[in-house]
């Protein structure tokens, strides 16, 4: 019975989300919703290796690879971004293959360091390889509105695409977590040796997790880049925007859970925009000080993230219901 109620609530909620562009014609509100969905998708994708306890601070690498691939194909060769999405996903996964070497060989902190170094190297290459990337000037996506060009005169199509991406990645994350890969990653996160002794090829599990994560990040990047019309090394491979931000959303929401990244992105994206626009104009950098303090607070007081505060309440309700049914 409860399940039905939940399903109805979810359906109404989803319909509400679908109707948002009809009610809010303000570009700011629509932009905010779109941004939240993009970050839900990016954070949920970032979070997949975190099922296995691996914490990346270099996901901007996959973002940049995906975005640059599609943009270069489109601007230089006139290839539709829809093919670019496939190519971008694939190239980002190739990046994932490279980063998987340190992923498999190194434990926690050293993988994190390698991931930072990896993204930084790619950023420098993007600056230096002018013939391909236009260097630090970047690439502008020409404004030629058409479905085939993934360019639109209104914000609504991107709103729906971002919503679709968010739902897709949450769904995939949920599916991965409840499949054998998810169990293997969680076992590896808890105790790598015990998992190996139980017959789990932990290296393969970590590798598969990173493949999903890098591919999805590259795919989301293509849409994000076309939404913004422009990309340059400083933003596409940005430590702040696409390495730190998803990580921060994930940690504050609850790393390694399905709903943590969603909660984190929903709270942090508007907060980040608010801090950037209001505090940022008063004082540049203040938003990151606030982020830093929040992060320290989370580490000290709610190491499981916000989701760990909500979960027990939810579980209690659930078990309360089932015991009521037993009686």
């Amino acid at each position: 019975m409860r399940n039905n109620k939940l399903k109805t609530a979810a359906a109404i909620f989803l319909l509400g989300l679908l109707a948002v562009p009809l009610y809010f014609t303000s570009t700011f509100v629509l932009h905010m919703f779109t941004l939240v969905f993009f970050y839900i998708a990016l954070t949920a994708a970032w979070n997949i290796p975190a099922f296995g306890g691996k914490f990346s601070l270099g996901h901007a690498a996959f973002f940049g690879l995906g975005g640059y691939t599609a943009a270069i194909l489109y601007v230089k060769l006139g290839i539709s971004p829809f093919i670019g999405v496939v190519a971008g996903t694939f190239v980002a996964m190739l990046g994932g293959v490279i980063l998987s070497f340190p992923l498999v060989r190194l434990k926690g902190p050293f993988f994190t360091l390698a991931s930072i170094a990896f993204a930084e190297v790619l950023r420098m290459v993007a600056v230096d390889w002018r013939s391909l990337t236009n260097g630090s000037v970047g690439i502008n996506i020409p404004f030629k509105p058409s479905w085939l060009n993934l360019t639109f005169t209104s914000g609504a199509p991107f709103y729906y695409m971002a919503l679709g991406l968010a739902l897709l990645v949450i769904g995939l994350a949920w599916w991965i977590r409840s499949s054998s890969l998810g169990y293997h990653l969680r076992a590896a996160a808890a105790d790598e040796d015990a998992a190996r002794a139980l017959g789990i090829n932990t290296a393969k599990a970590h590798f598969m997790g990173l493949m999903w994560s890098s591919g999805l990040t590259g795919m989301i990047a293509v849409f994000y880049v076309f939404y913004n019309y422009v990309l340059e090394p400083g933003t596409a491979f940005s430590m702040d925007l696409f390495s730190l931000q998803p990580a921060m959303n994930g940690i504050i929401g609850g790393m390694g859970t399905v709903w943590g990244p969603v909660i984190g992105a929903i709270i942090m994206t508007p907060l980040g925009e608010f801090l950037r626009f209001y505090l940022g104009t008063i004082q540049q950098g203040l938003n990151f000080v606030v982020y830093g303090l929040m992060l320290i607070a989370v580490v000290n007081f709610v190491p499981g993230g916000i989701v760990s505060l909500i979960e027990p309440w939810f579980k209690k309700k659930k078990s309360g219901d089932s015991s009521a049914a037993d009686n």
Binding site: S178, S179, S180, Y183, H184, R186, A187, A190, D191, D193, A194, A195, R196, A197, L198, G199, I200, N201, T202
Partner: protein, 241 residues
């Protein structure tokens, strides 16, 4: 005699110190083989070498004639070597999920894995606690999860590392028949134990290690009357050992 596991000249050094030194023995199919020795004798290192968590420096390990000396742990597990850990290491998930982790090797969907895991929990009489988190259970119960998890890999040989240590006498009496029951279901058992009475009660043969060397092997009676073994435990000098 049908040998399931044959270990030959197995050696492992830690920075010049021989933790396991030229150890050779065989495990017969269907037996319960005990492994005893004072602290630091190299028993757990031997388990780590057999399960593959440590790479050996020299020697070979063969299961049913197949060499697994160079194989990674997960392959050894697939070939039939299961183990538990001395310090229980349940994953941070429910009891049922803990057992589901290894069942995925044999069943692809989570529904099948769940059913199989539940069957195993029934066998170790933990099915009533399936939805609990291991952190909230007693040590005896957590040790049963270890055994259940190892059984879920469908081992031919099960390495049990002190599954009775730290339990009170009632719990020992409850967990002891479990070992026999597992053997009777067709699993060969090699186990480390400090509780002598328990060990002698259920093992058919006993290996004795001291300072990385295998010093005796035989039935419980033979071993307890062996002069070298007594020396190793009492620490007295005995010529010829």
């Amino acid at each position: 005699m049908d040998d399931l596991l044959v270990v030959k000249d197995l050696t492992k050094n830690f920075g010049g110190l021989a933790a396991v030194s030229e150890v050779s023995f065989e495990v017969r199919r269907g037996e319960i083989l005990g492994l005893i020795g004072p602290n630091g004798a190299g028993k757990t290192t031997l388990f780590n070498l057999i399960s593959g968590l440590l790479a050996s420096d020299r020697g070979s390990i063969k299961l049913e004639g197949e060499d697994l000396t160079k194989k990674p742990p997960y392959k050894r597990s697939a070939m039939g070597v299961g183990r538990t850990f001395q310090v229980v290491r349940p994953f941070d998930m429910t009891v049922l999920e803990n057992v589901m982790v290894p069942t995925f090797a044999h069943y692809k969907t989570s529904k099948e894995a769940k059913e199989k895991a539940f069957e195993i929990l029934k066998m170790v009489r933990m099915d009533k606690l399936a939805d609990k988190m291991p952190a909230n259970l007693t040590l005896a119960q957590r040790k049963r999860i270890e055994v259940a998890r190892a059984l879920a890999t469908k081992p031919k040989l099960l390495l049990l590392d002190e599954v009775l240590a730290g339990l009170n006498p009632t719990e020992v009496a409850e967990n002891l028949p479990l070992i026999r029951q597992v053997r009777d279901s067709g699993v060969t058992i090699l186990f480390i134990e400090h509780l002598m009475d328990a060990m002698m009660a259920i093992s058919e043969r006993v290996l004795v290690m001291d300072q990385g060397v295998l010093i005796a092997c035989g039935t419980p009676d033979e071993v307890t009357s062996d002069r070298c073994v007594i020396t190793a435990y009492l620490g007295e000098e005995a010529p010829g050992c």
